[in-house]
Point group: C2
Chain length 91, copies 2
């Protein structure tokens, strides 16, 4: 999971899915090229999505010939849980 967010392209995909949940593969490709200036091929994005899915950060739902991707940022909470911020506790 930590390796999943180590790649900048995968982080951009997460940003994109947070901004607009339930996108298909081609939608993600297009918006990555547009908004983030990334020129990743379809296969590259597909492989990134596989990694994100294996990390539990993205869930997949088939709809006809489309494959819609939904983001789930819950696993990232393990990071804040493992190394809690040094701020003042909850009074």
């Amino acid at each position: 999971m930590f390796k999943a967010i180590a790649d900048p392209t995968r982080r951009a995909i997460l940003d994109e899915l947070v901004d607009r949940d339930g996108q298909s593969l081609f939608e993600i490709c297009t918006r990555l090229a547009m908004k983030h200036g990334l020129s990743s091929s379809r296969q590259a994005v597909s492989q990134h999505l596989d990694v994100l899915e294996a990390a539990g950060l993205v869930t997949v739902r088939r709809e006809g010939r489309y494959k819609l991707h939904h983001v789930d940022t819950a696993p990232l909470g393990a990071i804040a849980e493992r190394w809690p911020p040094p701020g003042p506790g909850r009074p």
Copy 2:
């Protein structure tokens, strides 16, 4: 910074420094071998510490011939800030 916590050895180093702040290089090596069962060489750990320092997660303070390492988990807050947990907002 994301790549810094992608490596399990570096995560173990962070755990070790949270448990006991201000350790030297050899202390970290020893405790990594003891508690985590990792047999990393001194140079390997040193390079990991360089990465953690570059990521802003570890600060260094020289004391005589020792090099004390202090942890700073604040940069990790950027993760929770970038992808906020989907829980209920703050009412």
